[in-house]
Symmetry: C2
Subunit: 508 residues, 2 copies
Amino acid sequence: MDHTVYTQSVEKWGIFEIALAGHQDKNPFADYDIWGEFTSRNEQKKVDGFYDGNGVYRVRFMPSFAEEYTFRIGGSFREDGFRGGFQVTAPAAGNHGPVRVANTWHFAYEDGAPYYPLGTTCYVWNLQTEELQQQTLETLKANAFNKIRFCIFPKHYDYNLNEPISYPYEGTPCDSSVLTRENFLQYNGKAPGNDWDYRRFRPEHFRLLEKNIQALMELGMEADIIVMHPYDRWGFSQMDAESDDLYWNYVIARLGAYRNVWWSLANEYDLMEKKVLADWERYARIICEKDVYHHLRSIHNCKPFYDHSRPWITHCSIQRQDPYKSAELVEEWRIRYQKPIVLDEIAYEGNIQHGWGNISGQELIRRFWEAACRGGYGGHGETYMHPEDILWWSHGGVLHGDSPARIGFLMKILKETPGIGLAPMFTRWDEVAAQVEETIPGRSGYYLIYYGFNRPSFREYHFDDEHEYRVEIIDTWEMTIEDYGVFKGHFRVELPGKEYMAVRVQKR
Amino acid sequence: MDHTVYTQSVEKWGIFEIALAGHQDKNPFADYDIWGEFTSRNEQKKVDGFYDGNGVYRVRFMPSFAEEYTFRIGGSFREDGFRGGFQVTAPAAGNHGPVRVANTWHFAYEDGAPYYPLGTTCYVWNLQTEELQQQTLETLKANAFNKIRFCIFPKHYDYNLNEPISYPYEGTPCDSSVLTRENFLQYNGKAPGNDWDYRRFRPEHFRLLEKNIQALMELGMEADIIVMHPYDRWGFSQMDAESDDLYWNYVIARLGAYRNVWWSLANEYDLMEKKVLADWERYARIICEKDVYHHLRSIHNCKPFYDHSRPWITHCSIQRQDPYKSAELVEEWRIRYQKPIVLDEIAYEGNIQHGWGNISGQELIRRFWEAACRGGYGGHGETYMHPEDILWWSHGGVLHGDSPARIGFLMKILKETPGIGLAPMFTRWDEVAAQVEETIPGRSGYYLIYYGFNRPSFREYHFDDEHEYRVEIIDTWEMTIEDYGVFKGHFRVELPGKEYMAVRVQKR
């Protein structure tokens, strides 16, 4: 016999959650299941729930329509079932829904608002001290980033030898007191002394994750969740297929209802020695089947790209392969993959010994502008040496660099763009020029021209003979926009002969 | 009956010259010839002479051995012949002979002294006012450049609309008073109003050229003579084949005996609309036949490279094709062409509107170091806006930029390299490392590692466990060399976390 439950209302793209007591014998994570089926006028979705410990099972659901929903809960977690309903209200201010691919190469929220991904990376900020997590959130609040990449599993790597505050599984870690900068690479993979039960999750670990996803949501940020990664000493990167699949299902059941979640199957998939292509494709199948909301899906490389033309990949999450050309290749990748190009790693601002983590703020911002004017998106990270090894790139904390403010300035420029996103436009070999994507009708007459490391003292332009154009000179580094006046036909713009200048031209 | 003439002695690789009166009727440039045959114990060479105007014919010869020479002069320039002899003495200090390709990818003077080409470009400095020419020579004297690219023909281009002080042919130029920055491209090639006799040279034009080649020789500089180029309004780039060949023969006869001459068949051969591949190959044949000294030969591109694997090409004179990667490609080109790689154009330091002429001194020097550590050579040019349009790149004058001093510093580093030239050495993806060319025996243990735009705070090294190494930290921009001490086995070098640093490691 089914029980009937009526709950409070939920906003559209909010989370409906129901908690129910169930079996505690055997291994509830693996041996019992719970599901929910949700029905409204416009949608019907069936989702898995999950075991949250202490005899409690939960089902979460994200409604996509502001209307009345009914639901059924079932599964082996207990003998009886549940039915009920709830009202979905209009989304609150700032809730635009999940981010979707729009216009082939760009993104928009589900409500149609443009979304320009200018994100940062803090791999395991969520596994640092509570104090440091709060500091990270404060820093994010004060900056313009609208996406952050981070991991579910802890990280073992240079500058990342400390223990996480939480583990995803029941068990005990190896002794990390022996680790040094010199020997840590010998402990890659599953180091001796680890003793984990890969079939028994620690729900606290995931609750912490969810608390942070929620906090990011409140900051208007997307959580680009790195579900797997190779920088491991605990063996989480080397579990058997059954444990992997259990993990993927658990992660999707817990996190899928958060509208700001993106799935990054892996950071540097190609460094995960124990996984083969079939594994990645199997994880992808699980996501495609179980994530009924179709959150964005990507897989990030170290060296070779994953085949970004695979249909399940929604956008290219790229680490640059050439130390010299990265953002400059956005046009080629756009043509090849016909998907949004997000350069999640193009080297980080910093001064550590590694070449991927020691470019200047100027060079990082140059790459962001190159990417933007070619119709793609740069990604931020920061790796300055720190007396306590707290590097933003992995630990969060505070920012020390010059680039974040300039990324905020670029965000402002992008938000002032008509339509959804910029498209590369070939003008002359010695400028990087953008217009709005041509598929947006009636939006022509917007041009953004970037000079990068070139330092012209003037440039000449000609768009047409009929229209008047408002011309602005943008100093992308000093973050200034100078109104240069209105011009028609052929015209000349005097420039300061400095690096990192741009010119914005808009039809009046 | 032959006359007998004994002349003064000449130094080895100096110029022996004999002037003789001859026919003045018809067109002496085309209708009469003069030749000289020179014989010593170790060589026998026959060279063409040339008509120098006013009834005077000259034969020039560069002896390659310090020994006694005899000669015969003949030809249709007059009925009788001449014989004679002279003594060749040891070369004076600073005279190392012509530059030759050595060691596949590098250069050396004929006496074996290494030559590292770090050159500059002043296309028509020799056709500016006498005062400006003198200023250019003073500037060259105060700087480290050991090669300069310049043209025989005048140049017509942006910033180059003025008349040259001299013309190579008898005739009259078109009216240049109508030229403006806006219309000059319409006068490309042979503009209306030009009236030239392409069969009658103006010897004064060539004497001026020779005076400057001699002045460069005295400064220890190579004259990389651009024999043809497309930036023309007088029609010199569009002469018929017979006139072209007459010109090539005349140039070789006049200039071949100068030990510091290099033949650059063209600047931007591919922009010369009226020439086809067979023309370039014909000019090359003329040089190979008539230049008995085998001066270095190259041909410079605008966009597509000439096929640098052609046997007559001694070294690759490259203009970068990709705005982002230039010096970074030196390794690839070395492997492909098995010839020295000289990046005669990798964009110039300056601030003019053109992208090829407005990079910073830092970026130019970065390219020089990238090229050097990959076993090639950068090239300098400077294009700063000037109230009277005197830009070093074309007119000479004084230098305004930051790069020349740093090129001098790089020259010092190169001169301190054992052997002849650097070879790229793969170490780690995030450094550009050089050693000495492996074909130099017994010279191992020299390593030069460059970090470019990367800013490591430290780096770790390991060469072997046995030897001691002297370590120096080089700031390529501040031009400092810090002795960091002697190390063995694994060692760590603290660096300032700045751009443009290098580390030099030498076995003790």
